[in-house]
Structure formats: C-alpha cells, structure tokens
Subunit: 574 residues, 2 copies
Amino acid sequence: MEAMNEYNHPPFNLATTNATHSQVVPITLFVAVLCLCLVIGHLLNENRWINESITAIIIGCIVGTIILCISKWRSSHLLRFNEELFFIYLLPPIIFNAGFQVKKKQFFQNFFPIMLFGVAGVFISTSIVAAGCWWLFPKFGLNGLTISEYLSMMVFQILRLFLLSNATKSAVTITSWDSILTAITALRDFFIGIGTIFSSTDTVCTLQRSKLQVLHQDETPLLYSLVFGEGVVNDATSVVLFNAVRKINGDTFRGKAVLHILLDFLYLFSTSTLLGVTAGLVTSYILRGLGFGRHSSVREISLMILIAYLSYMLAELFELSGILTVFFTGVLMSHYAWHNVTESSRITTRHTFAAMSFIAETFIFLYVGMDALDYEKWKLNLLSFWKSIGVYGTVMFLILLGRAAFVFPLSIMSNYMHKGGEGSSKITVNHQVVIWWAGLMRGAVSVALAFKQFTHSGVTLDPTNATMITTTIVIVLFSTIVFGFLTKPLISCLLPNHTTNNGITRRSTSPKEELTLPLLSFEESASENLSRAKENLSMLMEQPVYTIHSYWRRFDDSYMRPIFGGPRSNEISS
Amino acid sequence: MEAMNEYNHPPFNLATTNATHSQVVPITLFVAVLCLCLVIGHLLNENRWINESITAIIIGCIVGTIILCISKWRSSHLLRFNEELFFIYLLPPIIFNAGFQVKKKQFFQNFFPIMLFGVAGVFISTSIVAAGCWWLFPKFGLNGLTISEYLSMMVFQILRLFLLSNATKSAVTITSWDSILTAITALRDFFIGIGTIFSSTDTVCTLQRSKLQVLHQDETPLLYSLVFGEGVVNDATSVVLFNAVRKINGDTFRGKAVLHILLDFLYLFSTSTLLGVTAGLVTSYILRGLGFGRHSSVREISLMILIAYLSYMLAELFELSGILTVFFTGVLMSHYAWHNVTESSRITTRHTFAAMSFIAETFIFLYVGMDALDYEKWKLNLLSFWKSIGVYGTVMFLILLGRAAFVFPLSIMSNYMHKGGEGSSKITVNHQVVIWWAGLMRGAVSVALAFKQFTHSGVTLDPTNATMITTTIVIVLFSTIVFGFLTKPLISCLLPNHTTNNGITRRSTSPKEELTLPLLSFEESASENLSRAKENLSMLMEQPVYTIHSYWRRFDDSYMRPIFGGPRSNEISS
C-alpha cells in the first residue's frame, strides 16, 4: 500500500495548489501583523509622543524578535528585503496620493523656494556628508571601504581628483593612470552613495511626518508645501547627481561640468514633469470625452489607478524620475480628471488613494522594523561597540550639519528675494528650524538605497558593506524613533498657535486674488483683458510668482478646463 | 579611459535602480494593454454581441501576436503564467467583491438549490467528463496519457478499479499489486484532473457572465443567485472531491467511501464558512468597538481590505477553500461591518472592491488571450489537425453533456421539493436552459488548473501534457468567444421580459415578510414573540426556507446587530 504514496505525480489538489507555495505563510503573517499595526496605531492615535511610523517600527522589531527566536537565530525575515517590491509596488501609490491630495495652489505659489531647497539643498548636503564620511570614517578603523588593492592610493587619488577639478590642465604623470582613474570612480561612487543615502530627504518619511502629525496642510500651508515639495524635488536631483557624476570622467571634469549637471537636471526635471502632465491630461480627456460615468464608476476608478501606475512605470522605463512623474500625474488628475467623474467616484478615489498609500507606508515601516534584527548583518560588523557608536554618531552629526548647511542659508536667501512682497511671506527662524527638523528623518527609502548599493539581492558577505547597512538601519531607527518622539513637542513649542490658522500661515492666499480671479472667464471682454494685463504687468515686477499663477489660472480657465474638464472659475461662482 | 567602464562596481544610480530590473518592461506593457482594454471595452459597451471578457481575450490575442512577431517566434508571453499570481493576488478580490455585493436575502433563500447544484452537480459532471475522456481519448491516438511503463496495464487496471468498487471483496490475485495500484492512482488523478478542469464551473467566468451582461441581480434574482451561488459552492466541492478520492485507496474503496466523501465535504464546507464568518464578525466588532471613523475613514477601508485578504490566506494556509471563506467574509462585512463605518467609507468600499475585482478579471482574460499564442506548446502537440479537432469537439461535447446531466434533473428535483411553496418559486424550463448555458464558459480558473496539473512552473516538455494544455486553451477561447457571442441573444430570446422586473423573478421577496419583519425588534413583548413563534412553526411546515430565514432575522436583530453593528429592523422603520 505504501507504493501509492511513493508515486510522486504532482497531486492534483485545489487546496494544496496554493498552500504548498512558499509565499502563503509569509504573506499571511505579514498581513496579520499589518492588521495588528493598524489597530494598535489607532489605539495610540491620541498619544502625544507616539506616531504611526514609530508604532509600525516597534511592532516590526517585536515580530522580528519572535521570528528570530522561533527560527533559532537564523532569520528575522518574513520576506527578504526587495528593492523591486519597494520601488515597483510600494512607492508609486504613496507619491501618487501625495500629488493627488496636495493643495496645488500653495504648492505652486511656493515653487521657487521648493526648487531651491530640493535642488541646491541636495547638492550641498551630499557634498558635506560625503566629505565628512571620507574624512572621519578612517578614524574609526573603517578603512576597507573599497576593494583593498585600491586602498593604498586613496589619499593620493582624492588629492588628484581635487587637482583635476581645480586646475585647467594638470601636469601630473603617473604610470598606472587607468587604475587610478578606476579607483577614483569607485571611491567617488561609494562616497556619493553614502552621501545620498544619508543626505537626500526620505520622501516617504517626510510625507509621513508632514501628513500625520507635524504639519497640517490646512494649518501651515507654507511649511507643508516647503517640506513636502522639497522631498519630491530632491528625488529628481539625486537621480541627476548620480548620473551626472558618473558620466564625467577625469578629463572632462574641468570647466563645463557644472553646466552639464545643470542641463542634465533641467532635462530630467522637464521630461519627467512632462510625462506626468501628459498622463494626467490623457486621463482627463478620456474620462471627459468618452463619458465613462454613464455606465459605471468602476471603469473610471480603474482607469485612473491604471494610468497613474503606467506613468510611473514609463518614467522608470525611460530612466526618468518616476517619483516626479507620478506626483505630477496625481496633481493633474485631481485638477482635471477628478471633475469629470461621478460623485461617488470622486469620494472613492480620494479615499482609495489615501488608503493605498497608508497601507504601503505602514508596510514599509513594519518592514524596516523587522529588518533591523537581521542577525547575519550584525555578525559581520567588524567594529567594536564603541567604534560603532562613533560611526553612528558621526553620520548622525553629518546629517544634522548637512541639512543645517543648506536650510538656513537658503531660507535667508529665499527671504531676501521675497523682500519686495508681503512681509509675511518670509520663512521665519522658527519655520526654518521646523523645515530643518522635518527633513532629518531617514526611513525606508534610505534602507532601500543602502540595500541596493551595498548588497546583492539582500545578501552581503563583505564586512564593510555589512557595516554600512547596519549603520543605515541604526540611523533609520534612531532618527525615526528619537526624532519622531521629539517632533510633536518641538512643533508645539516652535509654532505654539499653529492650530489656530494664524496670519503667517495663511499668507499664500492673497485676498485680492481670491476676489478677482474667480470672476475671470473665457467670455470676459477684451478691454477688461487689456486693463488686467497692464495691472498684472506691474504686479509682475513686484510679485513674480503670484502673477505667473494668475496668468496660469486665466489660461487654465480659457483653454485647459474646456478641453480637459473641471469647473471653470465663473462656474464655481455661479 | 576605457578602464573606467570596465570597472564593474554596481553603479549607484537611482534611475537604473529600477530600470535594470526585468519586471519593469512587462509590467509597463501589461498595464498599458489593460488601459487599452478598458477604453475599448467601454466603447463596445453598447454592442449586442461583444462583452468585456471577449474584448480582453481578443486584445490579448492581438498583443500576443505582436509580441510573437517582435520576439521572432520565441515567446508570446509578457509574464509567464503563474498560478501563484492567480491564486494569491487575482482571485481573492474577485470572490470577495462577489460576496460583498451579493444580495444576501436572495442568496440565502435559494440556499438549498444552490447547494444541490454546487455539490451534486460537480460530482455528476466530473464523472461524466472523466469517463467520457477515458473512453474517447484513445480513439484519437491520445494514448500517452500516463508514464509509459504503466500504459500496458491501463485497460486491465481500469477494469480492476471498477471491480474493486463494485464487489465487496475481490478475489483477483496479481503479483505486481503495488505497481498496478500506483498506476490506478495516477490514472484516476489524471482523469479526475481532466474531469474537474472541464467540469467545475469557472467562478470568475460565471461571475463575469452573471454580472456584466446576462443576468442582473435586480432583474432576475433567482437565476442570478443560482448561477452565481453554484460557482462559489462548487469550488469547495472540487477541493473535497480531490482530497477524498486521493485519500481512498484500493482497499477501503468499498462501502464507506461515499460517507467519507460526504463527511469530508461537510467538514471543509463548515470550517471554511466558519473562518469567513469569524473574519467578518471580527472586522465588524473592531470597527464598531474602536470607533475608527472618528479619526479617518482611511483606516476603516484599509482594515476591511486587509482582514478580507487575511481570511483568504488563512484558509489557504489551513488547506480549506479560500474562495468559500473570502466569499463569506464579504457577505458578513457587507451585513455588519459596512454599517459601522462613515458614509464616505461606505461609498468608497463599495466602489473600490468592485474596481479591484474588475481589474483582476480584465487582467485574467487578457492573460488567457495572450497565453493562447504560446508557440512552444503548439509545437509539442503531437496530434494531427483533424485528430485535434476531434479531441476539442469531444471535450466540448462532454462539457455540454456533463452540465446538462445535472442541471435539468436537479432543477426538476428542486421544483418537486418546492411544490408546497408558491408556484412561482419553480425553476422554469427557460431558466434551466439559462443556468445550463451560464455555467458552460471555461476561463482563467480552468487555465490555471491546467497549468498547475500539466506543467512545472509554466513549462512542459511532455507532448501529452502539452496537448492537454492546448486543448484547455482552445476550449477556453471557444467557450468564451462563441458561447459569449451567443449569450445575449439567447437570454433575450429565453427571458424576453427579464428587464421589466416581472413577477417570476421577484418572488423571493414575500410581501408578508417584508411587512412584518422590519417591525420585529429586541424590545418586543414576550406574548408577541410567543404568538409569532406559533405562527412561524406552522409556516415551517410549509415553507421551511422562509421560516428559517425569518428566525435568523429575529436572532440577527436581537443579538447580532447590537454587538456587530448594522441597523436593526426597527431602526430602519423609525
């Protein structure tokens, strides 16, 4: 009778069809833990110190410990950290939702300071962190940063790199020219790697921070759009920075390098934005032109979700910034497409996108918590306890410094350029501190980048790489938990009356504009147009951003909305 | 200068982080094609012959052809067919949405005929298709069905199987007893595999059919709940049938086998249902008890989605019927949990679940269309053109026969048992034809099962297996396209006035019950309860189902709704 069991024809069994798959157990556990997170996060909602991301990280740590015990110190993982999962499935809904829910007016009125922070900020911060790491890490014995054979040439090469960049033509003659250049490239890649991991603001974290507890879009619109916009823009900057630096070799790294980087950035920024805008407009046009709502709102909702995702994937395919693209798709969809769908679709999309984003965020924080307990990586860490503390402290300090180095000067610069406008448009010192603080958290994006840079599909055997990953995890845990704990008290100290809609935070809606613009319409007479144009021309001298915005609104009302949908200003007022 | 490029340190590049992954291209294309499907499906919505699934399959075929041409006859695949993807990600939202949107009253009032069709139907249909295949396939030269060494014993073994099942004790003595039993098992598995692939109703297909064009829940509630309920129940039956048949070996296959199968079925059915009900009640309790809506409806929506998915995964983990479980989770959630959430969450969940289900369905049909053009499988097909046609025709005929063999007798039986009730509760001959027809389509579930049974992770090298897969694909394409084309005309011919809400289809809402039950409440006096109990007792004799339903509603109002939420009947009337 035993022979029957020995016969290993794959059993045709609907139940075991799935149960035998290795994925069922981890997915089940993960979903269960997510549910738990949700409920506990809700229960702790009223708490002054705790927030949703801290809850998720702590629960992740606890679950990781339990799994570690059950698996007898083998693994704390339910799922291996997968950058693919992260970049393909979890990041797009978060960014799309951010674009969909953002207050467009405030965002675009603060466009200039946002760009300043997002572009110049990353450059400054990256160079400070990279240089700081290069200078301080060897002091903690963390020398094996690159492949050992290039190490001896390190100091010389760095010197040479500086020489090359400073002198128009260097007269240095070395026999092993190629190997040195290779080493330079490797080193530069590595340090810029560290620099960006620890310097670029974590979009997800910032959103989490700016959305859930610190900054409320309605209460502090200026701060919100600055902190939040910076996070979106600096993703594009990071992409450019890496591509640009990698392209420039020793020879060309002389005069036109900065111009190259700038042009590259402009190209990437404009194409990514254009793709996002196109996707949003196409959706609006289809929804308006074909009248989906007549039959079912299900098709409308599906189409919006699918095209939004498509825009992200297309951007990734063309090596653009998917984050920037999907952000603008979200903005355009909420500006046009959202007005072409049925009432129930509007409610549904608003809440669905928020829920998808919420689940993705919780998932990421949970995962980071679980990943912190990976025994393998800690075992490979070569440094002693105190030296490790030294490295962590150094990185933490460099992050604080790197961010301070651009937030405060750039704020002052932004204030100076806005001097012609209203006094209230200035970024006060308290606001500067909030902006500095809000971008300090490092989270899932940092972890994903670290895994991408320092491991091969989640596994590392090199001690230096393991050290870098554990450092990243410590920084993420520390910044999320400690800075997270302190954020609410800090905000309520710096912005004591920020819940009362005070004048400072509402400056972005100029009363005059509010009154005149809703009355503008396609049908308005030519003479009115002319006089308004004159008026606007004089405004352009004083408040360039406002005037651009008012021109845009007129263009929008006259040409865009009739084609792509959405209420025209005169329709609102009627 | 070339050395720099030779250095193969993994480039730290945010853009190529994702673009280098192999998944980006297929996902992008797939999402783009999905969008196309959606728009074209909408444009053809008014068409009498075409429906959404036909559109998706045809577009899939076209895209498959294009990919085949581009890849120079190598592959028509964007993604390899993955049963995991199908069972873990695509099926749950479809079934959950079905449970969430189903009219609970009609479904449970027709519970008896649904069970009859779902349970007895699968047994009858499977045996007819399996026996038919076993008898007819060798005539087309399709002999290599099992591993070659067992083939010579085939006829003898089958004879023996029948001997064993008929005689109480067989006196046959054969030396190679074990190998024959093994062969019998393999054969039985194989034929029952064929049987179920081609006999169990395709849940997704039936839903698609019953939802989008043929049967409208509001217009023909009886037909809808029969066709639809059968699809849900027969998944559980299939699971049981396979487990049961595989457990029974030659020795025990005598007297108690049927009882065993029955008990197994009852166990599986009850545990799966219980799990689903528990998940639904837990959600309701959490949502009610913790008052999620006070803070955000995002958490409510997330929690509902997550727990629904969790229930499916738990069922799969415990080797129960995930389809049955998630269906009942959906039913319970719409009965209780849905009433505990905010107004916007209600609208959102209804539409979101429908949209998720819609995307999953379109995805599946699109995939089936693409998969039809897999060159590899067609190349391995050993049969000549005419013999292939013969095999396809045979299977098609057996499907028609197998379904007819239980729909008509069971309908008559169901009518006979309902004789005591109202005359209009009978399933008319026209309705029987519709039920028969509606279950004929074979779709994605059949393809998934065939791939599971006859390939190893999407690849087959055995010609017989390749033949079985191409047969499945031909059957799916033929039944979806040809039967699909004919369905709308057939329905409008058989049910000429089914859009006019005629009396036959509305019989399930007995006017009396409608009037009395909403007035029942927890607070009603004991004497009223007593008199009603007597009344109901007499009703029990005549209309058992109605009375059970009315008892349930009273229990629901008194005990369940106060705990788990939802409006009590008296609250509705007030």
